[in-house]
Amino acid sequence: MFFLGDYLRESRIMLLHYFSGVGILVSGAIHLVLVFFVGSYEENLSFDGGIFSVIAVYRNFAFAFTLELLLIFVAFHAFNGLRVILIELYQGKKWEMSVNWVLTAIAAFLVIYGTRTVLLARLI
């Protein structure tokens, strides 16, 4: 964004990209372990009934918090990656501004929508 131009320069965005990648490695590993490597896959995918079923994972604060972190990390990492690809494909002020705003809007929607899922599912 225009007012962050001095601080959020390209090299720092790429550092954030790399460290969000490491964040995904940790929180994503926890997510995958909870689905695939503890209990049975069928039970973990069912709504309730198991220790690691869908609703039980949301109700556990630590697991829900991990999901929220994973959501934020992946939203940043994925959409910054797409931004890098699109800006390498074609250059121009108009194009780069459009790419930035459109991708930021989609990423923000996904973070809000995913956070809503986590918060509401905890209250079910």
């Binding site: 309730d48 994925a78 990656g81 797409l82 494909l89 074609y90 996904l110 899922t117 079910i124």
Partner: protein, 166 residues
């Protein structure tokens, strides 16, 4: 410059160059392994991003999707979730998950290689280029990690096949 001055359209050669750029991204023929890893990293990144988009929409169904913005009743939420799982339980989506497992694993391990390279680990010290001018950064370790990523990705795909179809 008057405001009515027409902007000259870009010469058609730019369009042709963009198309050839895309082609050389997606199929870097006669390139080394690192260049192939670059393409794979991008293709897998875009693939997993698309899955992320679908996954957030899919899991949002547990609380009623876009149509409901309050806490749903327990039975309604359970019904929503079971409907979503039933809808997604078919060979086409399962095959998609196998491919996502492959792409995600490759992206993870190749991404770790890039993480360490970014901070200078595993690419050798800077040195004077001498004949035959082989870049020190493109060394055996880098190639090994790229192949290892591909092998682990294949193993992840086999694991996913076993879970989903076995």
């Amino acid at each position: 410059m008057s405001s009515s001055a027409k902007r000259t359209p870009p010469p058609p050669v730019y369009k042709a160059r963009r198309a050839s750029l895309l082609r050389s991204w997606l199929w870097p023929a006669r390139s080394n392994l690192g260049r192939w890893a670059y393409t794979m990293q991008r293709v897998s990144g875009v693939g997993v991003s698309l899955y992320f988009l679908a996954h957030i929409i899919e899991t949002g169904n547990v609380v009623g999707g876009l149509s409901m913005w309050s806490v749903p009743a327990y039975d309604i939420a359970k019904n929503n979730w079971n409907n979503t799982v039933d809808f997604l339980k078919n060979p086409l989506f399962d095959l998609g998950l196998v491919i996502i497992g492959f792409l995600l694993t490759f992206h993870t391990f190749n991404g770790l290689r890039l993480f360490f390279s970014e901070f200078g680990y595993g690419i050798g010290k800077p040195a004077r280029p001498d004949y035959p001018y082989k870049p020190k950064s493109q060394n055996t370790l880098q190639d090994l990690i790229i192949w290892l990523s591909a092998i682990l990705a294949a193993l992840a795909a086999v694991y996913a096949l076993n879970v989903l179809f076995g």
